[in-house]
């Protein structure tokens, strides 16, 4: 490979051709500040509008300062990153950005993890000249079920726009207006709720400021905890335990399951349950559905559609309701684990406690923002009472733990409560891309073939590639499996399926990069995608450490069917654990 030699701050450096000045400086340990630039290398996404102009450097022979993020190294280039001219320019630009940014840092949801705030600290900005009369660009705040858009805080880095359009192909957001009032917004500057937004939260995950944040459900949770008439249950999604530690300074990939349970117990939840249990339940229903559809299909019933698509991911469900309304019969009818949990908690478990469903409050802790929206969907309510009352994100749980004065890192591990806290390794891997389909394969294989798997790990289904395909041998019956994570990849795969030219039997789709571990409600990765890999590793090691690794072997699942549901896909199971989808293709008609 061709290499380029240049000097940065008088230090010689050699880099591969095509390297940016920013990266070359980084190699030398020179940390040029960047604001709009974001490189999600593993996802093939680079946001490089060169718009913030914070990363400017002096390049000898050039008339103007050059943005280091989008200036490619050239042989003999002489770069200076901290001359008076650069420092003055950078600081002046920073003051300009701050002059059009609200100063309510104290109460901003992003305070403490805000890139802009950190940068202001780094540059030692002490005052903003002309603040008294500087007009600010202000916009209407948009409260959707999951995401709050406070565009007064937007700095036009366009990261959200890149995620929403290039990565997710959702197209809810675009740069709109011009000049001082330019901002990123849905069509007609309407609320997200009236847009094709899936609430995947990837915009929130990359927003450097408090412009995009999650709807905070913690006050409601605290109120419920304080209400003596309520029994408060909490369920935690698999991906949460692989990332929560990051909020407390632990290395990405540290598993904190036991500490998390302990913390939740200290906070005062009456029952600490696990969404992983519901994940096992999902496998029972979805796996059975797959086998049924497969069986009918193989016997020549053309009314049965294959492939079957997973339906655990609410962002994905919203996406196909908007974009693939002609294929609404393709996804599995199984509810997501969160909703299965809620349905079982407020029926089976309520009965066990001898309480009415209204007396139970079900809280979920999710790596996801779309879950907030999902639990508010009308079909998941009984007489107006939702199966899951509140959904808080991993970040909100961390806030809650801190607010409750809990020394998280010192906590001793504790166990989930029974019966809805018992889970298998299959339930855990739901948190990573390919995990749902691997879990389903473990069960479907054994149910179909009647044989016991020698190796439960289907590594062919794992990985970070956006679209993956694998064929699993069901004892002579080859089952073709497709996997996509990220809605842009999902769209590619779905468009293929739509042509009718594929031979997939089952497809797993997750809206977020890497699956739930990269969800919009997770601790911010600040553009470092190696974090996602570490979390994935944690998920799989959690699986390895489990005694039971197949959903159908979960004793409490077996008990649930015995005591309550009968068998998978039974009438009762249908009523409680299955759902239907809506054609929202015309919903993006605004006004």
């Amino acid at each position: 490979m061709e290499t380029i030699k240049l000097t940065i701050d008088n230090k010689p450096v050699e880099v591969p051709a095509g390297t940016s000045v920013y990266q070359a400086a980084k190699n030398l340990g020179i940390d040029i500040p960047v604001l709009c630039y974001m490189n999600l290398h593993d996802l093939g996404i680079e946001n490089k509008p060169a718009g913030c102009r914070i990363c400017v450097v002096e390049v000898e022979g050039r008339r103007n300062l050059a943005p280091s993020c989008s200036t490619t190294c050239a042989n003999g280039m002489v770069v200076k990153t901290h001359t008076t001219r650069v420092i003055n320019a950078r600081r002046t630009v920073m003051e300009l950005i701050l002059s059009d940014h609200p100063k309510d840092c104290l109460t901003c949801p992003k305070s403490g993890s805000c890139d802009l705030q950190n940068m202001a600290v780094k540059m030692g900005v002490r005052n903003i000249p002309g603040q008294a009369y500087a007009e600010m660009s202000t916009y209407k705040t948009d409260f959707s079920p999951s995401i709050i858009r406070d565009m007064d805080k937007c700095i036009m880095c366009r990261r959200c726009e890149t995620m929403c359009n290039d990565f997710q192909t959702v197209g809810a957001l675009s740069g709109v207006n011009r000049g001082f009032m330019a901002v990123v917004a849905p069509a007609f500057e309407q609320d997200l709720e009236k847009s094709p937004c899936t609430y995947c939260g990837q915009c929130v995950a990359v927003c450097p400021t408090g412009a995009l944040t999650e709807v905070d459900h913690t006050p409601k949770v605290i109120r419920a905890l304080a209400d003596p008439t309520k029994t408060v249950l909490v369920q935690t999604a698999p991906a949460v335990r692989a990332a929560l530690g990051e909020e407390f300074g632990l290395e990405p990939g540290t598993r904190v399951t036991g500490k998390m349970v302990a913390a939740l117990r200290q906070i005062g939840f009456d029952f600490i349950f696990d969404t992983d249990f519901a994940a096992d339940l999902t496998i029972m229903e979805e796996g059975t559905e797959l086998l049924t559809r497969l069986g009918k299909h193989l016997s020549g019933d053309k009314t049965v559609k294959l492939p079957m698509l997973t339906s655990c991911c609410p962002g994905w469900v919203q996406f196909f309701e908007h974009n693939y309304s002609d294929m609404l019969d393709v996804p599995s009818t199984a509810k997501s684990p969160q909703q299965m949990f809620g349905a079982i908690a407020k029926s089976y478990f309520a009965e066990k406690l001898g309480k009415k469903r209204e007396d139970l409050v079900v809280v979920s802790v999710m790596p996801c923002l779309a879950k907030k929206y999902e639990c508010q969907r009308d079909e998941f309510k009984v007489d107006g009472n939702p199966d899951v009352d509140y959904s808080i994100s991993t970040r909100e749980l961390a806030h809650l733990i801190k607010e409750f004065n809990i020394g998280f890192n010192e906590l001793a591990d504790e166990d989930f409560d029974r019966p809805l806290g018992e889970s298998t390794g299959a339930g855990v891997i739901f948190g990573a891309t390919g995990g749902v389909i691997e879990a389903a394969t473990r069960t479907a294989y054994e149910l179909h073939t009647g044989k016991t798997l020698k190796n439960v790990e289907f590594t062919a289904l794992r990985g970070m590639e956006g679209i993956r395909s694998a064929t699993v041998d069901f004892d002579g019956l080859p089952i073709n499996i497709g996997i996509a994570h990220g809605l842009g990849n999902a769209r590619k795969l779905l468009d293929l399926v739509r042509t009718g030219k594929t031979n997939y039997h089952a497809i797993e789709i997750m809206a977020c990069p890497g699956g739930c571990i990269g969800g919009g409600g997770q601790p911010l990765h600040h553009g470092d995608t190696s974090v996602l890999k570490a979390r994935t590793k944690a998920i799989y090691s959690e699986d390895t450490n489990k005694v039971i690794r197949k959903s159908h072997e979960n004793p409490y699942i077996i008990k649930l069917y015995e005591e309550f549901l009968g068998k998978p896909m039974s009438h009762k199971a249908h009523e409680l654990l299955h759902t239907h989808y809506f054609d929202k293709s015309s919903k993006d008609i605004f006004i």
């Binding site: 490089k48 630009v93 300009l96 059009d100 002309g130 740069g175």
Partner: protein, 592 residues
Amino acid sequence: MHLLVCGGTGCRASASDSIIEKFKTEIAAKGLENDVQVILTGCFGFCEKGPIVKVLPDNTFYTQVKPEDVAEIVAEHVIKGRKVNRLLYIDPTNQEKISDAKHMGFYRKQIRIALRNCGVINPENVDEYIARDGYHAIGKVLKEYTPAQTIDIIKKSGLRGRGGGGFPTGLKWEIASKNAADQKYVVCNADEGDPGAFMDRSVLEGDPHSVLEAMAICGYCIGATQGVIYIRAEYPLAITRLKIAIKQAREYGLLGKDIMGSGFDFDITLRYGAGAFVCGEETSLIHSMEGLRGEPTNKPPFPAESGYLGKPTNVNNVETFASVPVIILKGADWFSSIGTEKSKGTKVFALAGKINNVGLIEVPMGTTLREVIFEIGGGIKNGKKFKAAQTGGPSGGCLTEKHLDTPIDFDNLIAAGSMMGSGGMIVMDEDDCMVSIAKFFLEFTVEESCGKCAPCRIGNKRLYEILERITNGEGTMEELERLRNLSLVIKDTSLCGLGQTSPNPVLSTMDNFYNEYLAHVNDKKCPAGQCKSLMKYVVEPEACVGCTACARNCPVNAISGERKKPHLIDTAICIKCGACIEKCKFNAISIK
């Protein structure tokens, strides 16, 4: 015989009316009414030497004629046929008296190259273009030259891009020609967004074929078969004429497949701008052509590597293209003999503002501002004093009295703190407040900034706010300092040409008219009397007769007073509209 007396404003001010009267009486007295006609004409442009009298048919050009000279002209020239030597124009280069106006250097002040067919041919008739050697250049190139040879001619001619930056056109073509690709594009930038500039519109309306021909030549040179003209939707006439021209050229086979049997294919389509000044910037223009928001992207990569639809693209503006066919036909040497050392050929300017002869002019590079304003433009309107000429529009700066004798070319303008821009030249007089002018341009930039990069999006807004404070009398010295620093940083850090030049009007007015800024800041006064907030309308009691005319005409009832007694203006209510001053017959209201 005809006696043409200049009736331009400049000459009128110096008594051309009475000269006409004198001529008429003198001629009547001699009984020559039937043989000699006295005609008042429009401005000759040569106001420095006015009043002008021209005698036809012998083309005698008398300068600085006074009413007293009339009798002599009639007696000597009209009756005896002898020219009045002392009134003849003296050639400044050799001190010779010129008797036939055709030999006056004055007429060579303007040479029309890009405009050579404007006002001469019918733009809707390709035959007339062909009759003036139209499409001969592309014919010649296809038959006689290789692309490299053609590029060489353009390089040797020294032609530089007329759109703003002045990048050498031949070099630009060469770069695009060297980037291999299955498809390349030639784009004509006709998105003339500079307020007060209308060169491109005039060329397209007057001579569309020369642009088509040049684009085909460029296509041949760089290896493109497709041309696109990106034109402002606000120019419906130019669009219509371009459409007609393209149709006619296709019918003759001058566009399309196998042009003139050479095997070279080239065709042109139109794309419309939609009102965004930033689309004058190449990368923005290309995004706009692709149906996107016209936001610029960082260069490199330059369009020559990756442009329209990701293919190598060469973008030139209208005037640049319009100069190309002549260069091919008359040769690089001919073109490079005109102009200055580093700026060759001519430049079209749209002369506007407080000048008598608002119009389109084309002068050799190196012409001085004085020549443009006082010898072509007919001087300042209403006999006011010249204050500044703004070139380069919102990206440019002001040229002042001290620049009057600077030869205008790319480099001198930049050295003077302005720039060539596309060629708008707005002339300002003593009544124009330079802080307000800077504010005017900033208002434009704020409105036209695309909003992509922070310095331009926010910085220009802040500049505007400071200027507003200054013109309102609220400015401080600290803010003046900030104005300068902010301007320099915006120039230094902005993403595209718009932001990199937007502070120029501020910096240039600060450099040339700092005292005016100081007057606003320190004395809270606007020397030009233009800033409303710094003005006060007052009734002079001694002069006021109490006619009540002012009070009756005040739209906000700010004036009170009894009949026949001096009136009073309530400055708290007064909106400074000036209606009272206009109505007062006694000059009793003044601005303080």
